[in-house]
């Protein structure tokens, strides 16, 4: 039932709005609204019930295991939320003077410093509001760098075929042409293809390492040399930073610009699709172009760095300071982890992934890159199963929902047929992984004995398989009272 269907004309929550309509008004008649606003008129209790019930129709980390590749669904500590929502923090206006926000700015400054330390970059800007915006900002800096040198002919960005869709979409949004390069049989970027692709038109290469195939690009140093020699820059997509945090710094791998998904590696909540946060880090040569605002420390005082300090900056990409409250949650998380915790993230994420890969192989699943170590994630391919039984990766994913697990990432990366990209974050226990393996084994048996049942999954969710085609052909995108 939609919230609108609980609505009755004239119902008002008197404690939630001014007691009576205001007497004073100076708005010209011709600017006043004449049409009704179709917000629901629902009691406070019914509103609470409605949205509580809706919440119960969701999977979430707090209720289920999410083996969701390249998404790093780890526990979101409650302390990060409650401390970021202290009343002084949430009531602070973004344009309040700096001296009324020294506590907040201190947190932001320290977060910048810690992110610099773990990534090996020269400076960090906290402003990007999601991974894709971090990418956009990173690629804009690459463009600004080339243009500042009078180099206007670099019109191409190279992207491996295994990359997230945001990489090519970002390059285009930034006005570049995308050159896609292939992956070799072991899951590495094809070095010869890269060598053939670079040239005087190369602005840069966007790389995720470990890649979305769940393996470390062994040739990253050579790739860095090839791209730099051609005059291009190296962009690090931090989607998989969780796999190497505390082990390898993107700065040491030769990257010139990176983004870090705080909603992955640094445990800020996914919130059903945001808010994300993706600080960008830069090497020395991109320092002049870094987006503002940034927090500086002078003596014991913190202040914003603005366009006056950074005249060549690519500018502002958010109305204020990015997703400030998300940054606060990430800060609290890194302080809880500390130095030792920071090293352990990648160790235990990698342990979980390699264990789960080994166990799934033992129960009969085919691993896409069986001769490689898993990073923090790995790929299972159901190609043979599909050829034999017609059961697809999507069917298996939906059947997992019935067993109480969120589906792994399916059909991504696009180059592995019938793939499941599986990432068990470090906060998952061995018991959880073992139970997941048992369920996967059960599904393998079901595929043999009752393939049609598996194809019809899910069976226990609030709805069964939904008609996507109808949704796209006859778009019903907003409720109307007469509908």
């Amino acid at each position: 039932m939609l919230i609108f269907e609980h609505s009755r004309p004239g119902r008002l929550n008197y404690s939630q709005s001014p007691a009576k309509p205001a007497s004073k008004s100076a708005i010209p008649q011709n600017l006043l609204r004449k049409s009704k606003v179709l917000l629901p008129e629902v009691s406070e209790m019914d509103t609470v019930r409605h949205f509580t019930r809706l919440s119960q129709k969701n999977f979430s980390i707090d209720t289920e295991f999410y083996p969701l590749g390249s998404c790093t669904m780890k526990y979101n500590p409650r302390a990060c939320n409650s401390l970021a929502m202290l009343p002084q923090f949430i009531s602070r206006h973004p344009l309040a003077p700096e001296d009324t926000g020294q506590g907040y700015l201190a947190c932001m400054y320290e977060l910048q410093e810690i992110l610099k330390a773990v990534t090996g970059m020269a400076a960090v800007s906290l402003t990007p509001m999601a991974g894709a915006q971090g990418e956009l900002i990173g690629v804009m800096m690459i463009r600004a760098y080339h243009e500042s040198r009078g180099d206007f002919d670099r019109t191409e960005i190279i992207v491996p075929d295994a990359a997230h869709g945001t990489n090519p979409a970002t390059a285009v949004m930034c006005g570049f042409k995308v050159v896609e390069i292939a992956t070799d049989k072991d899951g590495n970027v094809d070095l010869d293809a890269l060598k053939a692709a670079v040239g005087p038109k190369t602005a840069g290469l966007m790389l995720t390492n470990p890649s979305t195939l769940g393996v470390f690009e062994k040739n990253v140093a050579e790739m860095s040399r090839v791209v730099h020699q051609a005059g291009g820059l190296l962009y690090y997509d931090g989607a998989n930073l969780n796999a190497v945090l505390g082990k390898v710094k993107p700065g040491d791998m030769g990257f010139d610009v990176i983004h870090i998904n705080l909603h992955k590696t640094f445990s800020t909540p996914h919130g059903g699709g945001g808010p994300g946060s993706a600080p960008v880090g830069v090497a020395e040569r991109l320092l002049p172009f870094i987006p503002i605002p940034i927090v500086a420390k002078e003596g014991d005082t913190y202040r914003w760095i603005t366009e006056k300090d950074k005249p060549q900056s690519i500018g502002r990409l958010s109305a204020h300071m990015g997703n400030a409250g998300v940054l606060l949650r990430a800060y609290i998380y890194v302080r809880l982890l500390g130095l030792d915790g920071m090293h352990r993230i990648s160790e235990f994420a990698t342990l979980n992934a390699n264990y789960l890969m080994a166990e799934l192989r033992k129960v009969g699943f085919e691993i896409a890159y069986p001769n490689r170590r898993a990073s923090h994630e790995f790929i299972v391919t159901l190609k043979d199963i599909k050829d034999k039984t017609g059961v697809t990766a999507m069917n298996l994913a939906k059947r997992l929902l019935d067993k109480g697990y969120h589906a792994p990432t399916t059909y991504f990366p696009l180059l592995v047929p019938e793939c499941l990209l599986i990432e068990p974050a470090e906060t998952e226990s061995k018991e959880t992984l073992d139970a997941f393996v048992s369920s996967m084994k059960e599904i393998l048996q079901e595929i043999e004995t009752q393939p049609d049942m598996v194809k019809g999954a899910p069976h226990t969710m609030p709805v069964r398989k939904l008609d996507d085609v109808k949704a796209a052909r006859e778009p019903d995108l907003a409720w109307k009272p007469d509908a």
Partner: protein, 450 residues
């Protein structure tokens, strides 16, 4: 170990299963020369008790003020239920609803949100959110250029939020789109439709129309919309969602209505929080929906013909179309939209109207009291919503600093962004301010200027 559940026995058993001796061995594919060793610059870990103490100290250091700053972020009452429900783990820690059957809660909520925003803006459809108001405007500009096909120029009045203009410029210039700024009338604080009619602007894809504008002044939206349409350009409204409870919505501006409406969603139940996370909203006419960026939720049916909700029209998006997508946006501001949807449900149409009307009345009252003080004048003659520009006889910085000593954040100085306005202060009094708050402010202002 914080948030890692593994016992020694677990680790031993797991390594045996893998066939490795140590965890270290699992990293043996990483070239040795890249391994960084011990990190420096990361402080030792804190317990929850210790971090709680640190954060409370820092919060206390920042303290509380009576806030009269608006300038794009507005203080409003937020019902307790909004964030108690929004931070339920099932909303807070859920993933983007790609697995529709396991995400019906979020998907239905987003559909309800889209319905509310479409009605509030007077448009046919809304997407499921953008990052913030500034990026929503930039995306609207890109969308207008994609749909227009012949012009790559956007007209933006200087009465649009200055940072929004900067963000738009930063984003659209990548695609060689030209941004032309339009001057405003320094008397009335508005864009004058007459001056546009006399201008030689012919070839442009869209005109941006703020309502209210950055000075809090109400624009002549009908004439501006009709003028844009007469030039075969789109009209993009950038609007305050609270104001829409009182003001003609963009979809009803002029004879045909604006084509795209965007804005900052923060006033709808999102705390000020030093600037984020907020959310941008975007709504449009149905003929433009396939050019809209971001996620869109549709209502459909399942195998049993039962109603359900899915992400739809995904052929616009980066995860399907890669380099041919309408935008690179992926993650948006889902949780903020959750809060806004609960907020709009709790206040309802009459509650939102009262919030808007009281904010308007409080600002009128504050301005009335302030202009009685010698050295305070209205900067503009145009009608206002819940914010107004005042010209002071003394430097705004000094006045603000004196007000701050009394615990009042007195407003936003327009001087830096609009040097031509001199000592001009932008003040905002929402429904959160009482009569005595307004009197205290006026008394403090009197002293500061005395």
């Amino acid at each position: 170990m914080p948030f890692i559940p593994h016992t020694k026995e677990d680790v031993a058993e797991m390594l045996t299963s893998i066939g490795a001796k140590t965890i270290e061995e699992l990293f043996d594919e990483i070239p040795k020369e890249l391994i960084s060793g011990e990190l420096t610059g990361v402080p030792p870990g804190l317990s929850e008790m210790e971090i709680a103490r640190l954060m409370m100290e820092r919060a206390t250091q920042d303290g509380f003020y009576q806030n009269f700053i608006g300038a794009g972020a507005y203080e409003h009452h937020i019902p307790a239920a909004v964030w108690q429900i929004t931070t339920r783990g099932e909303f807070y820690s859920s993933y983007t609803p790609y697995q529709a059957e396991a995400s019906q809660g979020t998907l239905q909520l987003l559909y309800e949100y889209q319905s509310m925003m479409a009605s509030l803006t007077g448009m046919d459809v809304s997407n499921a959110s953008m990052y913030d108001g500034a990026t929503a405007l930039a995306e609207a500009a890109l969308m207008a250029v994609r749909s227009h096909k012949t012009s790559r120029r956007i007209l933006i009045p200087q009465t649009v939020h200055p940072v929004y203009r900067q963000v738009v410029r930063a984003i659209v210039s990548n695609q060689k789109i030209e941004v032309v700024e339009l001057p405003y009338c320094t008397e009335c604080g508005q864009i004058l439709p007459e001056s546009l009619a006399n201008s030689n602007h012919e070839d442009f894809a869209a005109l941006v129309i703020p309502q209210p504008n950055f000075f809090g002044v109400l624009e002549q939206v009908d004439a501006l919309t009709d003028w844009a349409h007469s030039k075969n350009a789109f009209a993009i409204g950038v609007v305050n969602p609270t104001a829409l409870a009182l003001l003609t919505p963009p979809g009803e501006w002029g004879s045909k209505g604006a084509d795209i409406a965007v804005g900052e969603g923060q006033p709808l139940g999102i705390p000020l929080s030093s600037g984020g996370p907020y959310f941008g909203f975007m709504a449009c006419k149905s003929e433009l929906v396939r050019q809209m960026p971001g996620r869109i939720i549709g209502r459909t049916t399942d195998l049993d013909n039962k109603e359900g909700f899915v992400l739809t029209l995904q052929a616009r998006e980066q995860h399907i179309r890669r380099s041919k997508a309408t935008s690179n946006i992926c993650t948006n501001q889902g949780l903020m939209v959750t809060a806004a949807t609960i907020f709009m449900s709790l206040v309802g149409p009459e509650g939102l109207r009262r919030v808007a009307a009281q904010s308007h009345a409080n600002t009128l009252e504050l301005v009335e009291q302030l202009v009685k003080i010698k050295g305070v004048e209205r900067a503009f003659s145009g009608p206002v919503f819940h914010e107004a520009a005042l010209t002071l006889s003394k430097p705004v910085v000094d006045v603000l600093s004196k007000l701050k000593q009394k615990g009042i954040l007195g407003g936003y100085s327009l001087q830096e962004q609009y040097p031509e306005l001199g000592n001009t202060l932008l003040v905002c009094a929402t429904e959160t301010k009482t009569e005595s708050d307004l009197q205290n402010y006026a008394a403090a202002m009197q002293q500061a200027l005395g």
